[in-house]
């Protein structure tokens, strides 16, 4: 056993074949035609060459029924027709699919932007050059801390050095480089050093997101941030944002970096409204699993949030007529519960990231991982603490269940 990486991670059982889903609604409503998926994240394969401890999909083995090349190319055509403007191909590791470059090329030839997110372990110069030749415009490499932390989180010794090498290979191939980082108890205090590393790599952007209690991350709840941790995290992020501006780097707070504390306008100054918004799953965002399952967001759990399968119905029909994709189009404050139901920002925020809330409680509408909320609890001498009361069963895209304990802040 490698002391830095801890015990080896068990690979999840192979994912089940795609399931049939509820029938689509007979007709599309006006609102279903108004919302269009501008951004799609496409899991090309669940095969992966890393074993990340926070991986929500417990990636490793390919799904038993992943789309064929012909099916993928047809899906590209359907996405373009529906109005998708940018596609990020992911996995697992997208490059482990032999035809991934062909799919990238098809996306570009359809007139869409194409990017990828990668752990980078196998992003060789040859792969990077082939991707660039196919038209891949940008790649986001995951760096989750210093070397020891990164290797521990990624489950493979040497993963950090591989990521740095991948970044260099991508840049050498002429692909714009960005970096994404998970924030949890292991990585939080290392963020300033991570940022300096990223600046040195020549990245143009840095996306940050909280580690969510899904998949393997739900197996290690002690690594996840508690709501109270946000009181320290956000002032730190504000300082890092300033450093990003100095270095000419764009900071992209992920959709679960929230919400509405005193640093909000600074952190999201690059966003249109200057503040976070509600979940865009099924409104502007589309998620695709490698077997053709269509969701409103790639991160959402498979069974409750899949609207249909591309093998059963056209993409447009699933987008417009499937109940799980309609969820956010119809959501109101009445769908919220707990603190979020009463929050000052309820009608704007609507509990923020659906995935984060669902992963904690098995239902959306209440999200304690919120800076504003932590501040309000502290104002009255309280804090919230998340306690896992049910473990995740161990399947791809699964989650356990947590409860909120409200307690006095100890002096």
């Amino acid at each position: 056993m490698d002391g830095r990486t801890g015990p080896s991670l068990p690979l999840a059982p192979r994912a089940n074949p795609a399931r049939r889903h509820l029938p689509l609604a007979p007709v599309a409503r006006e609102i279903d035609r108004t919302w269009r998926p501008i951004y799609a994240v496409w899991e090309l394969t669940l095969a992966c060459d890393l074993a990340c401890r926070h991986c929500g999909s417990r990636a490793g083995r390919a799904r038993p029924d992943e789309l064929s090349t012909v099916e993928c190319l047809d899906l590209v055509r359907q996405m373009a027709a529906l109005g998708v403007r940018e596609v990020t191909v992911i996995g697992g590791e997208a490059y482990l699919r032999e035809d991934w470059v062909d799919i990238v090329r098809a996306i570009r030839q359809a007139g869409l932007l194409c990017t990828t997110t990668t752990g980078g372990r196998g992003m060789t110069p040859e792969r990077a050059q082939a991707a660039a030749a196919a038209g891949l415009q940008a790649a986001s490499v995951s760096i989750d801390g210093g070397e020891a932390t990164h290797d521990r989180l990624r489950g493979v010794a040497g993963a950090y050095q591989s990521a740095l090498l991948a970044a260099a290979n991508l840049r050498a191939a002429g692909i714009k480089l960005s970096v994404n980082t998970q924030i949890n108890k292991l990585s939080m205090n290392e963020l300033p050093d991570v940022l300096e590393t990223i600046i040195g790599l020549g990245a143009y952007a840095w996306q940050i997101q909280l580690t969510v209690a899904m998949g393997r991350a739900a197996d290690a709840p002690d690594v996840l941030l508690q709501p109270e941790d946000l009181l320290l995290l956000f002032p730190l992020l504000a300082r890092l944002k300033t450093r990003c501006e100095e270095a000419g780097l764009t900071l992209w707070p992920g959709n679960n970096i929230g919400y509405f504390g005193p640093h909000e306008a600074h952190l999201r100054s690059a966003f249109g409204p200057g503040h976070s918004s509600s979940c865009g799953a099924g409104c502007t965002t589309l998620g695709i699993e490698a077997d053709g399952a269509i969701k409103g967001c790639p991160s959402l759990q498979t069974d409750p949030w899949t609207g249909g399968n591309i093998r059963d119905a056209p993409l447009q029909d699933i987008w417009e007529r499937a109940a799980p994709l309609r969820y956010n189009r119809d959501r109101t404050v009445d769908d919220l519960w707990g603190y979020c139901r009463t929050c000052y920002y309820a009608d704007i925020c609507r509990a923020g990231c659906t995935w984060t809330a669902f992963s904690l409680f098995g239902k959306p509408g209440n999200n304690p991982l919120c800076h504003h909320r932590a501040l309000e609890f502290r104002r009255v001498g309280k804090r919230e603490r998340l306690v896992q009361v049910e473990r995740a069963p161990g399947a791809p895209f699964d989650n356990g269940r947590f409860e909120i304990v409200v307690e006095d802040i100890q002096p």
């Binding site: 501008i38 951004y39 994240v41 403007r85 940018e86 990020t88 992911i90 090329r105 570009r108 030839q109 007139g111 869409l112 932007l113 194409c114 990017t115 997110t117 038209g135 415009q137 940008a138 790649a139 986001s140 714009k176 960005s178 994404n180 143009y204 952007a205 840095w206 996306q207 764009t250 992209w252 992920g254 959709n255 509405f260 005193p262 640093h263 909000e264 306008a265 600074h266 100054s269 690059a270 966003f271 249109g272 409204p273 200057g274 503040h275 976070s276 918004s277 509600s278 865009g280 799953a281 409104c283 502007t284 965002t285 967001c297 790639p298 991160s299 000052y344 920002y345 704007i348 504003h372």
Partner: protein, 138 residues
């Protein structure tokens, strides 16, 4: 559709554009329940005048200026269809003091950046948006 949000000039926490005072730090943001006559007769303090000016600026933003409805993941959304007709003007039963009656005031609230470029990269949930405009492969 909710009112647009703007950062409080004092505590920086977002406040609905029609709020009279910041709910978090109690800073007065606009003059609510004050008649035009009171303003004209000089009965308002300088702080109240500045607050009213800030509110008027916020009102400009809320009525089709830079403040946009919240887009999911930052995707562009048409603001004009959803902006309420009285955005930024609060209760119509009282006359809020318009900016032009107060004379020059400092720009207390920085309006959010423009979001009119429909072709800008979307805000991604994975990685970061492609840094180039859409351009088909030759």
């Amino acid at each position: 559709m909710s009112q647009p949000l703007l950062p409080c000039p004092s505590c920086q926490r977002h406040v609905f554009a029609d709020a009279c005072a910041c709910p978090f730090c109690a800073t007065q943001l606009r003059v609510c329940g004050v008649t035009r006559a009171a303003a004209a007769s000089g009965q308002l303090s300088r702080a109240a005048l500045l607050a009213a000016g800030a509110a008027a600026l916020a009102g400009v933003a809320a009525c089709g200026g830079p403040a946009m409805p919240t887009p999911a993941y930052g995707a562009p959304v048409d603001a004009s269809a959803d902006a309420p007709p009285d955005a930024g003007h609060g209760d119509s039963s009282v006359a809020d003091v318009p900016l032009q009656e107060l004379g020059p005031v400092d720009r207390l609230i920085e309006a959010p950046p423009q979001d009119a470029d429909i072709d800008r990269p979307v805000v991604p949930i994975y990685g970061a948006a492609a840094p180039v405009q859409r351009k088909p492969v030759p």
